[in-house]
């Protein structure tokens, strides 16, 4: 008898389990259903009494409309997310290599100080950051946001790569040293080729975080450099809004990270575990 049979054996237990799982599933999917049916209704057909009903006529025009008005914002988000994810991943990989394989006196303390940057409430640095970005002429430019996300992404990317490289046996590195390989040669020929899963985890994590971020975006962008989250918040926050458009926009804003989650789910989970349960 397996321990699971204890739980499974009872008929009532099993039904209670499936009932609860089904309830939980409807709780988690309810907003998705609501988003889809609202986005697919004619604006005139949306009213609170019939909010749960399926649309009488399926209207795809809201997606087209949202797509047209959001396209520049989506582009901003893609440029921002891809460059900042790549930059912070590459720097994080090098940092992780140093911290895992070439620790110098005090590097552990430095690492702890770096990590703290990942937890701070950004409200505590927002005012000087705003002044700084303005001062170097990047306020309202997407590159200001790229810089900010790269820098504040460094702690988590460094952490994930460091823990990942700890698993690479030191003997491998030492052997290459004895063969006469230098610092960068070891990185290129030994460490980097083993890093692909690490890069996938880090890039997925950063992609999701940066795509979804709102505080920096709303503080440092202007209408022409706005990422999608800011545009969506503005669209949905307006008064007397018809809800088909915000719902269609919400789906557009959600799709890229949802796709990443659907395709790379396993790596996604590894990233979120790395961000919390260390060691």
């Amino acid at each position: 008898m397996s321990w699971r049979d204890l739980f499974r054996r009872g008929f009532a237990w099993r039904w209670a389990m499936y009932l609860f799982l089904a309830l939980a599933m409807s709780f988690f999917l309810m907003p998705v259903y609501m988003m889809l049916v609202t986005a697919l209704k004619e604006p005139i057909a949306i009213n609170l009494d019939t909010a749960w009903q399926l649309p009488r006529t399926w209207n795809w025009a809201s997606f087209e409309e949202a797509w047209i008005s959001f396209l520049p914002k989506l582009k901003n988000s893609f440029v921002l997310t891809i460059t900042a994810s790549a930059a912070s991943a590459i720097m994080g990989s090098l940092n992780g290599y140093v911290l895992a394989k070439w620790p110098f006196p005090g590097s552990r303390t430095l690492f702890a100080f770096m990590l703290f940057g990942m937890f701070i409430p950004y409200q505590a640095i927002l005012i000087p950051l705003f002044g700084f970005i303005k001062g170097i002429g990047l306020y309202g430019s997407i590159w200001g946001l790229v810089l900010v996300h790269t820098v504040y992404g460094l702690p988590i990317t460094t952490l994930i790569f460091r823990n990942y490289y700890m698993e690479i046996p030191d003997a491998l590195v030492e052997a290459s040293c004895i063969d006469g390989a230098g610092f960068f040669q070891i990185y290129r020929h030994v460490v980097f080729p083993l890093s692909l899963p690490g890069f996938v985890v880090v890039v997925i994590w950063q992609f999701t975080q940066i795509w979804n971020e709102f505080l920096f975006a709303v503080t440092l962008s202007n209408p022409s450099s706005q990422p999608i989250t800011v545009a969506l918040a503005q669209l949905a926050g307006g008064e007397a809004v018809k809800w088909n458009l915000p719902m269609a926009g919400a789906l557009l804003a959600a799709l890229p990270t949802l796709l990443v989650y659907a395709v790379f789910g396993r790596f996604f989970i590894r990233g979120l575990l790395a961000g919390s349960v260390k060691g």
């Binding site: 409200q123 505590a124 820098v151 989970i269």
Partner: protein, 373 residues
């Protein structure tokens, strides 16, 4: 060896740009925020937006105003709101997350599908979540209409537009209340220390506890920060935001617990069953105690997310809704709408202190654990 020393030196140089960037963007910026919070930046509208504002050093005035000023009652309510929000959000995520993890760990049919469905909200932006839930929580639609689908009367709760406040207390009772609570906590700590045989620690804790309790009972009542009564409590408008936040983050908690459950060796469970443990005993006596470190980690991670929550509230209730305000949002409004930079900086520093209070011990433990392994 020589190559070792050389490579360590190169390593330091490679690390240097990141160190410098974080030194500037994290530590020097924190320093400048702290400095700004000690000035009157923004008091004089003419200076507020000047390129080189003339700032006067005012010491702790901004903090004093936040704690006791007439116009800063909103901040005090926000602090109370954050505490309530954190309690319900963290508690809800832990409960639901643990329950889902235990059920999924039974390997029901469709296990993978359930897991993906419970976790997908975590990949969404809080702005997306907020937008959808804002529509779901319209007082005469959405969730309130759900009962009508099975023939029951529609719900009446006003959700985000609710103006009700429960569990109200006078801000003036806070020093006494805090001292009583801290005294009681130290008392428990003392008891635990004595039981563990750490007498010195136990005595220190008992003396601290006695001092706090004594002060609270003797002088606490007389020490009121305000000259007027000021009631704060839990705004029911937050209920909907808590639900949306749990919707977003309980899957994450589930994933944390699931990783922990998967790490418990099968033999251990088999052994318990062979020894005659019921499934209830198996969980209550063996598995849950093993989950304690994960619960602690999850509490800390969720707790600091909760203190920083900004986008969800912004998207669900708008930035200017005093009934659903939190300090993270008030800091933004105060600074970038009101141009009260010094006061905004002070709120930012208070947030930082709160987060540091829970994160620093956590970082210490995590990093120390690694050394011992």
């Amino acid at each position: 060896m020589r190559w070792q020393r050389r490579n360590r030196a190169i390593g330091f140089v490679v690390l240097l740009p990141s160190i410098l960037l974080l030194a500037i963007f994290v530590y020097s910026f924190i320093g400048r925020t702290v400095y700004a919070s000690f000035t009157d930046w923004g008091k004089d509208p003419a200076q507020a937006l000047a390129l080189k504002p003339v700032l006067r050093f005012v010491g702790l005035d901004n903090y004093r105003e936040l704690a006791t000023g007439v116009i800063d009652g909103r901040f005090r309510q926000d602090m109370v709101s954050t505490v309530f929000f954190t309690l319900f959000f963290v508690g809800g995520c832990l409960l639901l997350g643990l329950l889902l993890a235990i059920l999924i760990d039974q390997k029901p049919k469709g296990e993978g599908a359930f897991r993906s469905i419970f976790l997908f909200p975590f990949s969404l932006s809080l702005v997306v979540t907020g937008t959808i839930w804002r529509w779901l929580l319209q007082p005469s639609g959405g969730v309130n209409r759900l009962p009508t689908l099975v023939g029951l009367p529609a719900g009446k709760f006003a959700w985000l537009t609710s103006r009700q406040q429960v569990w109200r207390f006078d801000w003036n009772a806070l020093p006494m209340g805090a001292a009583l609570l801290a005294g009681a906590a130290l008392g428990v700590a003392a008891f635990l220390a004595f039981r563990a045989g750490r007498t010195r620690r136990g005595w220190i804790a008992s003396v601290g506890s006695a001092a706090l309790l004594g002060w609270a009972l003797a002088a606490g009542r007389a020490w009121a920060p305000l000259d007027w009564p000021e009631l704060h409590g839990f705004n029911l408008a937050f209920v909907g935001i808590v639900i949306a936040a749990i919707w977003q983050m309980s899957g994450y908690t589930m994933a944390l617990y699931l990783a922990g459950l998967r790490g418990i060796p099968e033999e251990l469970r088999e052994a318990a069953v062979v020894d005659g443990a019921s499934s209830w005993q198996l969980y209550a006596r063996i598995i849950l105690p093993l989950m304690t470190p994960i619960t602690l980690s999850a509490m800390i991670i969720l707790g600091h997310i909760s203190l920083k929550i900004f986008d969800l509230v912004f998207a669900m209730a708008g930035p200017d809704n005093a009934h659903t305000d939190v300090p993270a949002l008030l800091m933004y409004i105060t600074t970038f709408r009101g141009n009260q930079f010094a006061k905004g900086a002070a709120i930012g520093v208070i947030l930082l202190l709160l987060v540091a209070l829970i994160i620093l011990p956590y970082l210490r433990i995590q990093l120390r654990k690694e050394v011992h392994e």
